[in-house]
Subunit: 343 residues, 2 copies
């Protein structure tokens, strides 16, 4: 909170969001709430905000399904946009946009946040908590094949992908599709992959196979702890991203779609770097500005449907998608779009 | 001790060797003591035995220098042979043997104990305690170059070596020379390497660089522990060598020497496997039989010098070296020796 001191229009307040009754009172004077709590606190936080009747944008990457909160949001007249960061977030918005205009045969995206300077052994720094990264590396990945949701092991289907800005990266399955698995049932093929420098994931697989992600407690002397706990602590040091350390966020979104003009591929590309003028990381920029764009969507009355909406349910309104893209461009977060014929 | 029940000539006794006064009384009725305690208990144990005036063979791989005990051993009329296993042990014996007969220009050996079945990720099982193996992987390696003792990082100077019995292995510096660094000062070039399946040591270096061998305590909740402690526990499972699991011990000893017949290379080769008839591991066979051979050397009066002697100081007596070799051959531990001209 100390970083926000001195901004005339910002008041800070330290508050334990687990006090849901107090939280409801706390948000009462405001028009809109942005929830950016750690994932494990997400569900109870947005439940309290919806109960309080307040509009909401959420980027807490909570593990639970939020659609059960939809009816309460409708009843309370609340507009809630969830999972609205860079990813999940932008790819959902784009999927929803094209889904409203065409038939999508295949939807696929890959995304990563990486340090510019590659330092062995991991060639990785965590722009968010290491334990959430390890969760991402261990949770089985759900994707869609032939119209069916299938589950594959985390870090499967590895492939090398070349990017003009940063060279060859390695992509592997992760569990980032979330609501997309169910909200756009007409799309038969969907997958999401995480990007890292080549070799990184070999070390993660090694740590997993050697038992370092285990969650059964081990006793050493009087102390009892899990390998997962220790690994998280060890990596917290090794993966520490210094605030001034140059990093980038890179994302490629690919659609095979068909409309009145025929069948073709559409590819979106995002590459954003640590911003030297402001010292703001690309992960903060791309996630934060997508989130605040959604807040302005609600506050400006561009999107005011009542209920709980993952971004694909917002993007189907082209005015909403255009607003978010223009909002990002105004902040130097550039997304290019290219089209080609379907091979 | 339960494994020894039923042998008519063996009596077992559970005893805490840290009670050095009690230990001296315990050993009093016996002719000779073999110390096979964990390394960290080694020095105090053999000190007590020498104070008790008993002859001694030690295979506890203690970290301390034992030569300061030499004068007490002489005063008490004790013959003590230390570090007398497969390695350290046999290479020392061989170095001492040739040192008495020739000028040794270079002495080098490499040794490893490995499972026959290679299982990823480590392709390794520990024939002794994992924490001692990790110590071996972290302790800087002392060797001799141009007559000087030099220290190199553990796991440095990696090279691939092909063996007829087991294919390509990887050798790297470890700290196995110990007393040889000082007892045979005329040998200007000496090194010792550990052998593993290729790739194993990359994973160890990765774990080290990632901080998993750290000895600074980390706090998680109320528990405090070191990465080293946890890693040891994780590897204890992954490296567990089942008593019936086939393993082998392989060693190559190379000398460049010069005598009346000119300059040439002499190479010793040992390859021993888990013994199906007895179920005894090669590590137990090669270490244990070398140790008991030394005990018979003393008991049979072949070597009765008074003082503390690493095996190189025993091997200079060719009768002693021949006795140990014949003792091993009688137990199917075969060491071949080949000679070639010096290139």
């Amino acid at each position: 909170l100390a970083m926000l001191q001195g901004h005339a229009q910002i008041a800070t307040r330290r508050f334990d969001v687990r006090d849901t009754k107090g939280l409801k009172a706390l948000v009462m004077p405001f028009d809109l709430v942005i929830s950016a709590v750690p994932g494990f606190l997400g569900f109870q936080t947005i439940t309290a905000v919806i109960e309080a009747g307040k509009d909401l944008v959420d980027i807490s990457f909570l593990p639970e399904d939020v659609l059960p909160l939809d009816s309460m949001a409708k009843a309370n007249g609340v507009t809630a946009i969830t999972d609205c960061g860079v990813a999940p977030g932008l790819p959902n918005l784009i999927a929803g946009y094209h889904h409203a205009l065409s038939t999508i045969h295949r939807f696929e995206y890959m995304v990563g946040g990486l340090p510019r300077v590659r330092t062995l052994p991991f060639e990785y720094k965590a722009p968010f908590s290491p334990c959430d990264v390890i969760e991402e590396y261990t949770r089985p990945a759900r994707l869609k094949e032939n119209g069916q949701v299938v589950t594959k092991p985390a870090m499967s289907d590895r492939e090398l992908i070349w990017f003009e800005e940063v060279g060859t990266l390695e992509a592997f399955n992760s569990d980032g599709l979330r609501s997309l698995l169910y909200t756009l049932p007409s799309i038969g093929e969907m997958c999401e992959k995480t990007l890292r420098y080549p070799g990184h994931i070999d070390k993660i697989i090694f740590l997993r196979d050697a038992g370092f992600f285990g969650k059964d407690p081990i006793k050493v002397g009087d102390a009892s702890f899990t390998p997962f706990d220790l690994t998280t602590e060890v990596l917290k040091k090794g993966w520490f991203l210094h605030p001034e350390e140059e990093e980038f966020t890179i994302m490629r979104i690919m659609l095979n779609l068909e409309d009145g003009e025929g069948r073709r591929t559409v590819q979106y590309h995002l590459y954003d770097t640590w911003h030297p003028q402001t010292g703001i990381s690309s992960m903060a920029r791309t996630t934060g500005y997508t989130c605040t764009a959604a807040a302005h969507l609600i506050l400006n009355g561009i999107f005011n449907d009542k209920g709980v909406f993952p971004p694909e349910c917002v993007g189907k309104h082209s005015a909403a998608k255009d607003f978010v893209f223009n909002y990002l461009v105004a902040r130097d977060v550039l997304i290019t779009c290219t089209e080609g014929s379907f091979v």
